[in-house]
């Protein structure tokens, strides 16, 4: 510890602290622009100049290391003079347009100019003007306002992982830009809006729609990925105007993904379902809640009364709240049905019988910082879990974490990947077995008896390198991503991952696909004894379905088969935030429910944090919080236990036990059961990602996100050798056939495993193709 005196107050700070760190600890504010706690130190704006005893000139607090006994004055005459001098320099070329600037009211330059700026300008030359840039659909540029703090440049490089922005030219010609005026494609790009201390970078969707001081700020939780980023949702007259991060150093730090930030645009979508609707004689018409509920109750009772609870299938979105999932499963079970599931894209449920508990990350997010080696199995990590990827990237770039990967796609994660096995889906288990075998050889520990018979005879060097990376670290982790969980042989991948983790002393974890991928288990939204899982409910069609928050064509492992099953059913009740053609085609009654901003709720994220939130806005029209709809339905069905006074009571009931005790990634030996999928015999296998901006009903309707590169329509991506083997030329249109046929553009992509075609799921253009995994044929048109 070091002793330092700041403005007369003695503070003790850890070794290696800067004067800025010490000031923060002491509660002293030092004005600054380029300094940011999460970015490297630039020390370039010079706003934080302070007086230091014995120093001949003022020093920048952000970059000056504390020495023992140091005395610092942050507001002495010397310090203030230096700070005012810098402020004048910053203002000489800054346009005087605060009244029309979107940053007004929350502008660091404006705020500090009040304290440090002069009343009159001494600069009487012409001001510098820069041409605005086009950074894409999310970020607006007012380049002339830029004060060259380079926070945005450092963000893209250090946090985003690719230097998408730079400071070109020099002197007072220095200008922030992207190469060739390209759009910023990072899935974290919106954070530079928050970082920009002036109005040079603002939110394109938000700009000019409200002033900062008109907005109410309310805390919330991201409903998208499994991290559960903490949000501040800002509203004006009960309308969500924008979403910002809420600092949580255990999870998202001060960042959020673009999905978290811009998905709010969907809240005001014209496709919101604003009234209950019933289909009568093939015609949809809006009805009152009473009529809709009475219809639903009667229809459900008819099916269940006739064929029993087994005739009902209940399928929920993993983005639904704990309260909703809990009441939903309670309702299903109240109707004597164990057929309930939220794992809609999963194919292999053999693990359910031998699962230790709810799958989770297996470690805290903070501990990623200290990892030595991490193996990621089957994940589109950067797009599926952008902030977890960011943590991994940070650790890999700054702390020497060695990242390795097994998967069927090697798309750029914008971080160094030390070793990789790029294999077709059908070869993933063998690759993992190879790692286990190599690890056993490295560590001298034997492979578990049950698996020892399945080790491959030869181990390729890249697979051995993964094992070596794990063997040489002390703090290791093995993560299974969504691609692994959705794999037709997911249970085997899980078993091998567990063995690799055991042999390398690694934590075993699941990244999780959605906000409640862990929470769904805790809410018991999974089939009980004799119940059917999500796949079985589709493959053995039910007479009635209860859909909650799902889009049947887009949210399932096989949208086409799901639609077919629903079409055959006698009754489909769908509670949904949005209206959609697929729902109108398959459902009989539509109940308008609300997204996370209009209901209280809880998500249990990938580290087992139950994070609750309140409604921040009023629902449009007749839409109502899902938990309330379910409560009324329960009561109307005369089921016991639907008398909770509020959402908190539901939550307390749902999460009554110790959550930590329920989290367990262990898997036992698989029962000898029939193979869940036929062997891959075709020369082409499908690799399906769920594109980041098609992953859930909200983002699909977020207009600005839909204009980004990540929202481009799916293509058939294959390596050059695969294309050549198929006789297909890159760029041509191809007819792709799975269980159905679609037409796509063929694209050469060396990141796709040989013998595979990467074709995105969750998109209307590929629904007809059928399952996310399996054999394909391709012919050039």
């Amino acid at each position: 510890m070091l002793e330092i005196e700041i403005d007369g107050n003695a503070v003790q700070v850890p070794d290696g602290s800067t004067v800025m760190d010490a000031a923060t600890l002491a509660g002293v504010y030092i004005p600054h622009f380029c300094y940011h706690k999460k970015l490297s130190i630039a020390a370039s704006c010079r706003m934080c100049l302070v007086q230091v005893e014995k120093a001949p000139k003022p020093l920048p607090a952000c970059a000056t290391p504390v020495t023992n006994g140091m005395k610092v004055w942050t507001h002495s005459e010397t310090a203030i003079k230096a700070q005012k001098g810098v402020m004048e320099f910053l203002l000489i070329n800054h346009p005087l347009e605060c009244p029309i600037c979107d940053q007004g009211g929350e502008c660091q330059l404006q705020d500090l100019a009040v304290g440090y700026g002069g009343a009159h300008a001494r600069y009487r030359e012409e001001k510098r003007v820069w041409v605005n840039k086009n950074f894409g659909p999310l970020i607006a540029s007012d380049a002339t306002r830029c004060i060259n703090c380079t926070r945005c440049v450092r963000f893209t490089t250090e946090i985003g992982g690719l230097m998408e922005l730079g400071q070109a030219h020099r002197g007072d010609h220095a200008e922030i830009m992207s190469f060739l005026g390209r759009a910023i494609d990072s899935e974290l790009s919106g954070n530079i809006i928050d970082l920009c201390p002036v109005g040079a970078l603002t939110s394109k969707p938000f700009r000019f729609s409200a002033r900062a001081w008109e907005l109410s700020r309310r805390r919330s939780i991201s409903p998208h990925d499994s991290l559960g980023a903490n949000l501040i949702v800002q509203t004006k007259h009960d309308k969500v105007m924008r979403v910002l991060p809420f600092d949580n150093d255990r999870l998202n730090e001060c960042w959020i993904t673009d999905k978290d930030r811009f998905s709010y645009e969907a809240l005001a979508s014209e496709h919101r379902l604003t009234s209950p609707m019933i289909r009568k004689d093939g015609e949809w018409r809006a009805v009152s809640w009473q009529i809709a509920l009475e219809f639903t109750v009667a229809a459900l009772q008819e099916v269940v009364g006739g064929q029993g609870g087994q005739a009902l299938g209940t399928l929920a979105s993993p983005h639904a709240t704990i309260e909703e999932l809990y009441l939903l499963q309670k309702l299903a079970r109240g109707l004597a049905s164990e057929n309930i599931d939220f794992r809609l894209r999963q194919r292999d449920f053999r693990g359910d019988a031998v699962r230790g508990g709810a799958p989770w990350l297996g470690m805290s997010v903070v501990d990623i910082h200290d990892l030595h080696s991490l193996l990621v199995i089957g994940s589109f990590l950067r797009k599926d879990a952008p902030l977890l990827a960011q943590k991994v990237r940070h650790s890999a770039l700054r702390h020497g974490l060695r990242v390795s990967a097994v998967g069927s796609s090697a798309e750029d994660w914008r971080m160094p990947v030390a070793a990789r096995a790029l294999v077709a889906p059908a070869a993933m288990a063998a690759a993992l077995a190879g790692i286990a075998a190599a690890l056993a050889a490295e560590t001298g520990k034997p492979v578990a008896e049950a698996l020892a018979g399945r080790l491959p005879p030869d181990i390729p060097n890249n697979v051995r390198a993964i094992a070596q990376s794990l063997a040489s670290g002390e703090k290791n982790a093995v993560w299974l991503g969504s691609f692994a969980v959705q794999h037709p042989r997911a249970a085997e991948l899980h078993l091998w991952a567990q063995e690799i983790a055991r042999l390398s002393g690694a934590a075993l974890g699941f990244i999780g696909e959605a906000a409640n991928s862990t929470g769904g288990y805790l809410a018991s939204a999974v089939p009980g004894a004799g119940g059917l899982d999500a796949r079985a409910m589709i493959e053995s069609p039910r007479d009635a379905y209860l859909l909650f928050g799902v889009e049947p064509d887009l949210d399932f492992a096989d949208g086409a088969a799901t639609m077919t099953a629903l079409d055959q059913a006698q009754l489909v009740v769908a509670a949904s935030i949005f209206d959609s053609p697929a729902l109108r085609q398959s459902a009989d009654v539509l109940l308008p429910i609300v997204p996370f901003t209009e209901t209280p709720g809880t998500f249990v994220n990938c580290i087992g944090d139950a994070q609750s939130f309140h409604a921040v806005a009023l629902p449009p029209g007749e839409a109502r919080p899902g938990w309330k709809v379910l409560r009324v339905l329960g009561n109307l069905l005369d089921l016991p236990g639907f008398n909770q006074d509020d959402a908190k009571a539901v939550r307390d009931e749902a999460l009554s036990g110790d959550i930590r005790a329920c989290l367990d990634n262990a898997i036992g030996e698989l029962p000898e059961a029939e193979d869940p999928s036929p062997a891959q015999t075709s020369r082409l296998q499908r690799v399906a990602d769920v594109p980041v901006y098609f992953a859930d009903p909200l983002v699909r309707r977020a207009a600005s996100l839909q204009k980004t590169a990540d929202a481009a329509p799916p293509t058939a991506r294959m390596s050059a050798s695969t294309l050549a083997a198929l006789g297909v030329s890159a760029g041509s249109r191809v007819r792709v056939t799975g269980t159905g046929t679609v037409e796509l553009q063929a694209v050469a992509d060396e990141s796709v495993a040989s013998g595979c075609a990467r074709i995105a799921a969750a998109h209307p253009a590929t629904v007809a193709l059928g399952p996310m995994h399996g054999n394909l044929s391709v012919e050039q048109i």
Binding site: T157, L162, M163, E164, G166, Q167, A168, R170, F179, L180
Partner: protein
């Protein structure tokens, strides 16, 4: 994008730096590319960046930071005249004025026949030879009297 000879030269530069430090060769690689192409179109900068495993924006920062790189096409002969103090004391400004008159162009302009571009340069570290000018970045001409300028121009005219 670049000739085999240019790539060979770039490889030689890369070899000067420790393994994994290819980026250190960016300045010479851009110089070599510019010598081949006459100037640095952005596609060439991107090619060089890829060749050195660095982000194109980082290469662009370098190309725009150092003022001997030309990001716009220049004439076959680029003449960069120093007009800074020691050269100016020895007539550097007059040299520039004379060149402007002779070529009929101002600074940062190119003659219509594409032969000459005139630039104002910063100190070239040869103030003892003032006034100095650079021909195509790599050839320094000192003690530039009107007479010597005439000779230089007629030499270059005929190239």
């Amino acid at each position: 994008m670049l000739s085999q000879e240019s790539l060979r030269q770039i490889n030689k530069e890369i070899a000067k730096y420790p393994p994994g430090r290819k980026q250190s060769a960016i300045m010479s690689a851009l110089r070599i590319a510019q010598t081949e192409k006459g100037w640095l179109p952005k596609e060439v900068i991107e090619f060089v960046a890829d060749y050195l495993d660095m982000p194109p924006m980082a290469a662009y920062e370098v190309a725009t930071f150092y003022n001997m790189y030309d990001l716009e096409p220049v004439g076959r002969h680029k003449l960069t005249v120093c007009t800074n103090l020691p050269c100016a004391l020895s007539g550097g400004v007059h040299v520039a004025e004379y060149l402007k008159r002779r070529l009929g162009i101002g600074f940062n302009e190119t003659t219509p026949d594409g032969k000459f571009t005139l630039k104002e340069g910063e100190c070239m570290g040869a103030c003892g030879d003032a006034p100095v000018l650079l021909h195509n970045n790599h050839r320094m001409c000192g003690f530039m009297s009107m007479d010597k300028i005439d000779r230089l121009l007629s030499e270059l005219e005929n190239q």
